[in-house]
């Protein structure tokens, strides 16, 4: 293969270069340029000296993350929550997508899809209010139902163990409609002839789903998983903050890196420490996504991201 210079390539594919330029610029400005700000993680930031003028202070900014032993706990929580949410919300999304594409009535199908999609538009602030009104001890819906049936009131807010599930359920409820769209798109692109052939061979609905639908959308599933894994150390701050609030009793079970950092740095506006936490998240994310991608590459090279 003959290699050509950049100028030659440029002349030949002017239109293509022109089309890709905005994206390249956007990525540079929004993703690469801000990376220089990561030096803050190693600096004692002063407003009058600026990002690059401030003094270096080594790993001092990272110390507070691990000072009270919270570092490991919140890292573990963040990863476990994301894994749980990944499995539940993606799994549910696939199931929903398959069911919706099997539905035949057009109007019923549209209505179902819209209803499932709706929670995506509700902000976490509102969801937080829902959660409080369901679970609070005095006037919550749950306790009202329990007492109506003659049971003892339960104080859900002092039971850390159930919160991972509550959070997981609300997360799935909110995202499932949105995620299923992508799978529905993948399913509609499957060649209808496959299903016709299966019909002639006498396959039932479940066999068709299992032997045709799933294998066909496998690349989509893997790509979605990889994309989600890249965010595995970013807790959905809004969700945790709005659902849990300032309830210290639940922190051990519900604290993620983002909420911990937000809470502890709210009071001293230390940009260095915030940057250190972000840096820590980014590096871990990078390592995890590289590892997962390598594994995918080993197993099925075509499906890897890069």
């Amino acid at each position: 293969m003959k290699k050509h210079g950049f100028v030659y390539e440029f002349k030949k594919n002017k239109a293509l270069f022109f089309m890709v330029a905005p994206t390249v610029l956007l990525v540079l400005v929004m993703s690469y340029l801000p990376m220089s700000g990561l030096v803050l993680a190693f600096k004692n930031y002063r407003f009058d000296l600026g990002v690059f003028g401030s003094e270096w202070n080594g790993l001092e900014n990272f110390r507070y993350l691990f000072q009270s032993g919270a570092g490991w706990l919140i890292t573990r929580n963040t990863i476990l929550y994301n894994l749980l949410n990944l499995i539940t919300s993606q799994g549910l999304a696939i199931v929903v997508a398959v069911i919706i594409s099997e539905l035949t009535g057009r109007i019923f199908k549209k209505i179902t899809q819209s209803v499932i999609f709706l929670p995506y538009f509700i902000s976490w602030v509102i969801v937080g209010t829902f959660v409080f009104n369901i679970f609070n001890y005095e006037t919550g819906v749950l306790n009202n139902i329990i007492t109506a049936f003659g049971g003892e009131k339960v104080n859900v807010y002092s039971m850390p163990g159930v919160w991972p599930w509550i959070i997981c359920i609300f997360n799935a409820w909110k995202w499932v409609g949105y995620n299923s769209i992508i799978y529905i798109a993948a399913i509609t692109s499957i060649d209808a002839e496959c299903y016709e052939a299966a019909d002639i061979d006498g396959a039932n609905v479940f066999q068709k789903i299992w032997y045709i639908t799933f294998p066909s959308i496998r690349p989509t599933i893997i790509t979605m998983l990889l994309l989600q894994v890249g965010r595995i150390l970013r807790g959905d701050f809004e969700m945790f903050y709005q659902i849990v609030g300032n309830n210290g009793q639940l922190y051990d079970a519900t604290d993620v890196i983002d909420t911990y950092v937000f809470r502890s740095l709210l009071t001293n506006s230390n940009f260095g420490m915030t940057a250190a936490a972000t840096f820590y998240q980014s590096v871990l994310c990078f390592i995890i996504i590289m590892v997962v991608n390598q594994i995918v590459k080993k197993v099925e090279a075509d499906y890897a991201l890069f």
């Binding site: 400005v29 507070y64 609070n136 001890y137 309830n247 922190y251 911990y260 502890s264 009071t267």
Partner: protein, 511 residues
């Protein structure tokens, strides 16, 4: 050849990017202060300073922007232009975003002149990190009338690392804390109406629970309970920044301590668990975001400072709202509770200070700046002020500009308000700078212990808040709190703060 071309292309892109970035940097700054030649209309000399050049000053305050800000601004700018040949533009940072946006003001490099600041906006950490201009010489020179009236305590509080970085308010506020409570719900019961101690308050809560079971007797929501502070302060103790360090002002050489080292803490926790059992507050309070339960008629009392009392009283005169202070040794809150700072990027600190001096020393200018347009925004009735359109303009958010001479109570304020204030003032006078008042000038410097401090604050919130509300078991909870605080580095904080405190006391003796 190929390589050089590639390199040039890359460099070009980089250069372009840098240009784009610097362009937006300077573009932003320009709007805030621009020097234009004088119109010549104004007097070019004021207090011996050259003001022949017209200056546009800008100020940041934290609050939601009022609807009629433009009219108010136009009104006071006429006065400012006439007296000091300058205009002032006030920028508002809304309540929803101030926590993130306020510190970013100083890191963005934006050019502006003044900013409202306060202990709750992290005045001293920001000052230490170079957000504000140092005022050691500028302040006495350009704002002499203000400087002269500052108390020794206030001057001390304005300093960080030995230099002044802000102009504290001249209006003293008090460390008073206690219940603001409704008396209408207890009418017809045999409640004696006494409210002098925490035990009286407990009695009130008991009656309230019975008389109005649909209400929460004591309003607690997600920002936690204030009873811990009331309890400690009712014992005459003095609390330091952060909420977990205390000292006893009655000692000659006070030792800094925290909750689990205090002998009466178990007693306090027993009391709180009694309150919890009786349902005096919600069992899910820390996840409740409704901060207006009292105002909305869903709670019978809340713990507040003195300032919240007239506000609640005026809103519902029919509720018979009353206030009682339970703090035994009331002192002035740090004057940096409300303060004005000059941004380190300011181009016209002199004029900004002159303007601030004028605002805090001239009633007419103050009214125009703080209360708005007379007859439109406010009306003065018998030395009290009535806001004619509270939805349009709730007065300026530059609360630091208030002075004891110019500040007026709201029209319809409770009749006992001046008496309460007078009793605080006379108490402070009686103490002659001893007791709590002695320590109000002490400003903790957390620079050396920032990591530990952040960690301890976190532990305090995670373990003490639920413990205080008796959501966790008193004995094992307190033990866990202690263990976690120790891991977080409380020992280092205590040592450092103790050292600073001793230094402070020595410096007082030298005088």
């Amino acid at each position: 050849m190929k390589r050089t071309i590639r390199l040039t292309a890359l460099l070009l892109v980089a250069a372009l990017l840098v240009c784009a970035c610097t362009a937006c940097g300077t573009g932003k700054g320009k709007a805030s202060s621009e020097d234009t030649p004088s119109s010549g209309a104004a007097s070019s000399e004021a207090a011996g300073e050259d003001i022949s050049k017209k200056v546009e000053l800008s100020m940041y305050v934290v609050s939601d922007r009022p609807v009629v800000q433009d009219q108010v601004e136009e009104n006071y700018n006429k006065v400012f232009e006439e007296k000091l040949n300058c205009t002032l533009k006030v920028n508002w940072i809304g309540w929803a975003e101030y926590k993130n946006k306020y510190p970013l003001l100083f890191s963005s490099g934006e050019v502006f002149d003044m900013a409202y600041t306060s202990t709750w906006l992290n005045f001293s950490p920001l000052a230490r990190k170079g957000a504000f201009k140092e005022l050691d010489e500028l302040w006495p020179k350009y704002a002499p009338k203000n400087y002269e009236r500052q108390s020794e305590m206030a001057l001390r509080q304005s300093k960080v690392n030995g230099h002044s970085y802000c102009i504290p308010t001249l209006l003293g506020t008090y460390s008073a804390s206690g219940p603001t409570y409704r008396t209408d719900i207890l009418e017809g019961t045999d409640w004696d109406g006494k409210m002098e101690t925490i035990a009286d308050y407990e009695e009130f809560l008991e009656y309230a629970k019975e008389a109005a079971p649909e209400m929460e007797p004591y309003n607690v929501y997600q920002s936690g309970s204030d009873m811990d502070e009331v309890y400690m302060k009712s014992k005459g103790l003095y609390g330091l920044t952060g909420g977990f360090l205390w000292l006893d002002p009655s000692e000659e050489k006070p030792q800094v301590f925290t909750y689990y080292e205090y002998g009466d803490t178990p007693e306090f926790l027993t009391m709180m668990s009694r309150w919890n059992e009786k349902g005096f507050f919600s069992k899910s309070a820390l996840s409740d975001t409704d901060s207006q339960k009292f105002r909305g008629g869903k709670a019978a009392s809340r713990i507040t400072n003195l300032d919240a009392y007239p506000d609640e009283y005026i809103r519902h005169p029919e509720w018979g709202v009353k206030y009682a202070n339970l703090v035994s040794d009331v002192s002035n809150l740090p004057f940096t509770q409300d303060a004005m700072a000059i941004a380190s990027t300011s181009k016209n600190p002199e004029r900004a200070l002159m303007l601030y001096d004028l605002i805090t020393s001239d009633q007419e200018v103050f009214n125009a700046f703080y209360y708005g347009v007379e007859g439109v925004n406010y009306k003065i009735i018998d030395g009290q002020i009535e806001n004619l359109a509270p939805d349009d303009f709730v007065y300026s958010a530059c609360w630091s500009a208030r002075t004891p001479e110019f500040d007026m109570d709201d029209y319809g304020s409770p009749a006992d308000l001046p008496d309460i204030r007078a009793s605080f003032d006379s108490h402070i006078e009686e103490m002659k700078g001893e007791g709590s008042q002695k320590y109000t000038g002490f400003v903790m410097d957390t620079a050396a212990i920032e990591t530990e401090f952040a960690a301890c604050q976190n532990v305090h919130q995670q373990y003490w808040w639920p413990l205080e509300l008796a959501y966790t078991d008193a004995e094992s909870g307190l033990q866990e709190y202690e263990e976690k605080m120790e891991v977080a580095g409380i020992e280092r904080i205590r040592e450092e703060v103790q050292r600073q405190l001793d230094e402070y006391l020595d410096s007082l003796k030298e005088k």
